[in-house]
C-alpha cells in the first residue's frame, strides 16, 4: 500500500471499462456468428432479453428497486415498434427509435408509481403495474392482436442495404451492434455522478437525503433510462422475430429476467450480461433436451445461487479483479 498523500486511482485509463466491454461483446458476438451460424435466431432473441436484463440491472442492481414487473417496459416498446411497423414505419432504425421512446415513457410511468415506496409495497406495485399492462395488452386486441399476437411485422432493410431473413444474420449483427452501443454507453453512465448517486441511494437512502439528494425524481429518471434500454430490447425482439405476443409483457418474463440478473450478479453490468447469457443458454439446452422438467433444474440452480453465491456468479470474479488491481497499485 502506498504511503503517498495522493493515492492513485485503482485503475489507470479512464476508458478501460468501456473498451473492455466493447471487446468482450465483439468477441462473444464473433464466437456466436462464426461457430454457431445455425443458432443465430436464438442468439438474436438472447440479445433482446439481455438488454432487458441490463435495463433491470439499472433499477434493481444500481438503485435497489425490487421489481417483478419489468417486462412492462420491454413489452410496451415491442408492441409500439410492432404496431408502427405494421402501420407502415418499416425502417429498422426508426423502429428502434419508436421502441426507445415507448420504453422511456413506460419507464417513467412505472417509475413514478413504483419508486414512491420501498420494500413490500414497492414489490407489489411493480407486480400490479406489470399485470395491468398485460391485461391491457390482451384487452386492446384491435391494436395488439391480443392472445393471437401481433404478427405481420416485416421491417425493411437496415440502412436500406441488409434485409432480415430466416437465418437471422442481419438481425443478429444488428442486435449485436445495438447491444454494443448500449453496453458502452451504460458503462459510462453507471460511473457518472448520476450513476454513482444511484448506487449511493441503494446503499442508504436516508444518507443520500442527508447530503441533499431528492431521491424520488432521481429514481424516476433512472427508471426512464432503464425503460429506454428495455425499449430497445423490445423493439429489437419485435423486429427480429416479426411477432409480438402477450408473453412479452407477462409476469413470467419479468420473473425470468430477475432470475437472470441475480444469477449473474445485480449491481454490475457484467453481472447482468453474464447472467443473461448463462441462463438463456442453459435454458435453451436443457429445455430442448427435456422440455418437461427444465423448470426444476432452474429452480435448483436458483436456490443454489441464493444459498451459495447470493451476490451472483460475477461477485467472485469482480473480487479477484479488484484484488489484482490493488496488487498492481502497491
Amino acid at each position: 500500500m502506498s504511503d503517498s498523500a495522493t493515492p492513485a486511482p485503482p485503475r489507470g485509463l479512464p476508458m478501460i471499462p468501456e473498451a473492455s466491454g466493447a471487446l468482450a461483446i465483439i468477441g462473444l458476438g464473433a464466437i456466436g456468428y462464426f461457430l454457431f451460424p445455425d443458432d443465430l435466431a436464438f442468439l438474436t432473441r438472447l440479445i433482446g432479453i439481455t438488454l432487458l436484463v441490463l435495463s433491470l440491472d439499472l433499477v434493481t442492481g444500481y438503485c435497489g428497486v425490487a421489481t417483478l414487473g419489468h417486462a412492462a417496459q420491454f413489452g410496451v416498446a415491442a408492441y409500439a415498434a410492432g404496431i408502427a411497423c405494421v402501420r407502415g414505419v418499416t425502417d429498422p432504425i426508426a423502429l428502434l427509435g419508436v421502441g426507445l421512446v415507448a420504453g422511456t415513457m413506460m419507464g417513467l410511468i412505472s417509475g413514478a408509481l413504483i419508486t414512491r415506496f420501498r420494500g413490500l409495497p414497492q414489490l407489489v406495485l411493480s407486480i400490479a403495474v406489470g399485470q395491468l399492462v398485460a391485461a391491457l395488452a390482451n384487452k386492446l386486441s384491435w391494436l395488439t392482436g391480443g392472445s393471437d399476437g401481433l404478427s405481420g411485422i416485416t421491417p425493411g432493410k437496415v440502412f436500406g442495404l441488409y434485409g432480415f431473413d430466416m437465418y437471422s444474420r442481419t438481425a443478429f449483427l444488428f442486435s449485436l451492434g445495438v447491444l454494443l452501443i448500449v453496453f458502452v454507453v451504460l458503462s459510462r453512465f453507471v460511473r457518472s455522478p448520476f450513476g454513482l448517486m444511484c448506487r449511493g441511494i441503494k446503499d442508504d437512502d436516508l444518507r443520500a437525503r442527508m447530503i441533499g439528494v431528492s431521491i424520488y425524481p432521481r429514481l424516476v429518471v433512472m427508471y426512464g433510462v432503464s425503460g429506454a434500454v428495455a425499449g430497445l430490447g423490445g423493439a429489437l425482439t419485435a423486429i427480429s422475430t416479426g411477432v409480438v405476443g402477450l408473453d412479452s409483457v407477462s409476469f413470467e418474463r419479468s420473473a425470468e429476467v430477475l432470475v437472470m440478473l441475480v444469477l449473474g450478479g445485480a449491481g454490475h453490468l457484467w453481472g447482468a450480461l453474464a447472467g443473461a447469457l448463462i441462463f438463456q443458454i442453459f435454458e435453451h439446452i436443457v429445455a430442448a433436451a427435456n422440455p418437461f422438467h427444465w423448470m426444476m433444474l432452474v429452480g435448483l440452480l436458483l436456490i443454489g445461487i441464493v444459498v451459495f453465491a447470493p451476490r451472483g456468479l460475477i461477485a467472485p470474479v469482480m473480487a479477484l479483479a479488484t484484488r489484482l488491481a490493488r496488487k498492481g497499485d502497491a
Partner: protein, 391 residues
C-alpha cells in the same frame, strides 16, 4: 439485392441443399404443447404419430423419417416462431407439423415460403391459417366447420335466444362469428356475446351474466384444457342446467379425458365435433388398438391424436411424392386432393383450401357401460370449412 446479401443467401441455399442431399434421414419437426397445462395434447400428437409410424414403418421409399418434437407450451407466438426457425435452420427439417394454438401457427406461417417447408397443422382451428401460406395443409378442423352444425342443431332444437361465450382469441372469435351468422340467418337471436380471456378459470360470474340475459341456450367454445372443465362445472353448479338452459358447444369443451371429471351431471350435453373416441368404425377400433399397443392410454385420447395420425399419413405421402427431395409445391400438390377413411370417418383434403373436409357429428354425453362417452346421434356429411369455401 446487394452483392453481400446475394452471397449470404446463395451460401444459405447451398448449405441447405447440401444438407438435404447428404441426409438420408428426412426430419419432421413437430411443434406441440409438450409441457404445461396443455401437455395432454402434445402427448396426443405423439401418440397419433407413433401409431402411424408403428403401422407404416420408419422408412418411406428408402428414406428414414425422423420426428423431432419441440414444445410450444402455451399461446406464445414469438417462442413458436423461434422454435420453427430453429427446426428449419439448425435441425434442417423438411416438414413442419403440429401447432396446437392458432397464434403459434400464424407466427410460423411466414417462414414456410422462404424455407420451402410445408406445414401440416394438426390442431390450430382458425379458418384463415391456411391462407397465410400456400404450403399449409390442415388435418384437424376449423371453428366454422364444427360451429355451423351446432347453430343448425340449436335452431332445430327450438332455441330462440342464445348467449355466446368464447375464449378471446382467434378461434373463439371465429366460433362466435360462425354461430352468430348461421343462427341469425335461421331467425334466432343472439342476446349476449361474451369474450373470455384465455387465462380465466372462474366462470361463475359469467354464468350469472348469461342467466340474467334470459338466454335459453348457451353456445360456447374454449380450447380444450383447464378452462373447459371449469366452464362446464360452472354451468352445472350455477343451476343453469336445472333451470333448463341448454349448453351447445363444439367438442373441445367435452373432450373424453374431461368427461369423468365432469361426471354424471354432464349427461345430455350436446356438442358438434368431427371425432369421438367412441366412434364406431373398424378404422377407429384399429387406431385405438394401435395406441394401446404402443403403450398409450386410450382414456387420454383426444381428437388431436387423430389429426396427428392423419397428418403423419400426409407427410408420408408428401415424402413419397417428392422422392425425399425438398419440393414443397410438388409435396402439397400430392396431398391436396387426397381422400381416405380416417378413424374419425371418411375425409378428404379440399384442393381449394388445403383444409380437411369431414363429417361432423352431433353428439350427446351419455353413460354407456358405466363410462361417460360422447354418443354420436346425427351426422352432418362432408362438411367443408364454411368460412373458406364458397359453398
Amino acid at each position: 439485392m446487394t452483392r453481400r446479401a446475394t452471397t449470404v443467401s446463395a451460401l444459405a441455399i447451398l448449405c441447405l441443399a447440401s444438407g438435404v442431399a447428404a441426409a438420408d434421414t428426412i426430419k419432421v419437426g413437430v411443434i406441440g404443447t409438450m409441457s404445461g397445462p396443455y401437455a395432454l395434447f402434445g402427448k396426443n400428437f405423439k401418440m397419433g404419430i407413433d401409431a402411424w409410424v408403428a403401422e407404416n414403418g420408419t422408412k418411406v421409399g428408402g428414406h428414414d423419417v425422423e420426428f423431432i418434437y419441440r414444445d410450444e407450451e402455451s399461446p406464445n407466438p414469438a417462442k413458436s416462431k423461434a422454435i420453427a426457425q430453429e427446426l428449419i435452420v439448425k435441425d434442417k427439417v423438411q416438414y413442419l407439423a403440429g401447432a396446437y394454438f392458432t397464434p403459434n401457427a400464424m407466427a410460423i406461417a411466414p417462414l414456410l415460403e422462404e424455407s420451402k417447408t410445408p406445414l401440416v397443422v394438426m390442431n390450430a382451428a382458425t379458418s384463415s391459417i391456411v391462407e397465410k401460406s400456400p404450403y399449409i395443409v390442415r388435418t384437424s378442423f376449423t371453428m366454422w366447420q364444427n360451429t355451423v352444425p351446432a347453430a343448425k342443431t340449436a335452431t332445430k332444437n327450438g332455441a330462440k335466444k342464445v348467449a355466446i361465450a368464447v375464449s378471446d382469441y382467434g378461434p373463439g372469435i371465429d366460433a362466435e362469428a360462425a354461430f352468430k351468422k348461421t343462427f341469425e340467418a335461421d331467425g334466432g337471436a343472439v342476446v349476449e356475446a361474451i369474450r373470455i380471456p384465455l387465462a380465466t378459470t372462474d366462470f361463475s360470474p359469467i354464468m350469472q351474466r348469461i342467466k340474467n340475459s334470459g338466454a335459453d341456450t348457451i353456445f360456447t367454445f374454449l380450447p380444450s384444457g383447464p378452462p373447459t372443465l371449469g366452464f362446464v362445472k360452472a354451468y352445472l353448479d350455477n343451476g343453469l342446467k336445472v333451470a333448463g338452459v341448454k349448453l351447445m358447444s363444439t367438442g373441445d369443451v367435452v373432450t373424453e379425458p374431461d368427461l369423468p371429471n365432469i361426471g354424471d351431471p354432464g349427461i345430455g350435453i350436446l356438442s358438434t365435433y368431427h371425432y369421438s373416441v367412441s366412434h364406431a368404425s373398424p378404422e377407429n377400433a384399429s387406431f385405438l388398438a394401435q395406441i394401446k399397443k404402443g403403450g398409450g392410454n386410450v382414456d387420454e385420447v383426444t381428437m388431436t391424436s387423430v389429426a396427428a395420425y392423419d397428418g403423419a399419413r400426409l407427410i408420408y405421402k408428401m415424402i413419397e411424392a417428392t422422392a425425399g427431395q425438398r419440393d414443397p409445391v410438388k409435396a402439397i400438390a400430392a396431398v391436396k386432393d387426397m381422400t381416405w377413411v380416417s378413424p374419425r370417418g371418411p375425409v378428404s383434403i379440399d384442393p381449394a383450401t388445403r383444409h380437411i373436409r369431414q363429417n361432423v357429428y352431433l353428439r350427446e354425453v351419455a353413460k354407456v357401460d358405466g363410462k361417460l362417452i360422447n354418443r354420436e346421434i346425427q351426422t352432418f356429411d362432408a362438411q367443408p370449412d364454411w368460412a373458406l369455401s364458397k359453398e
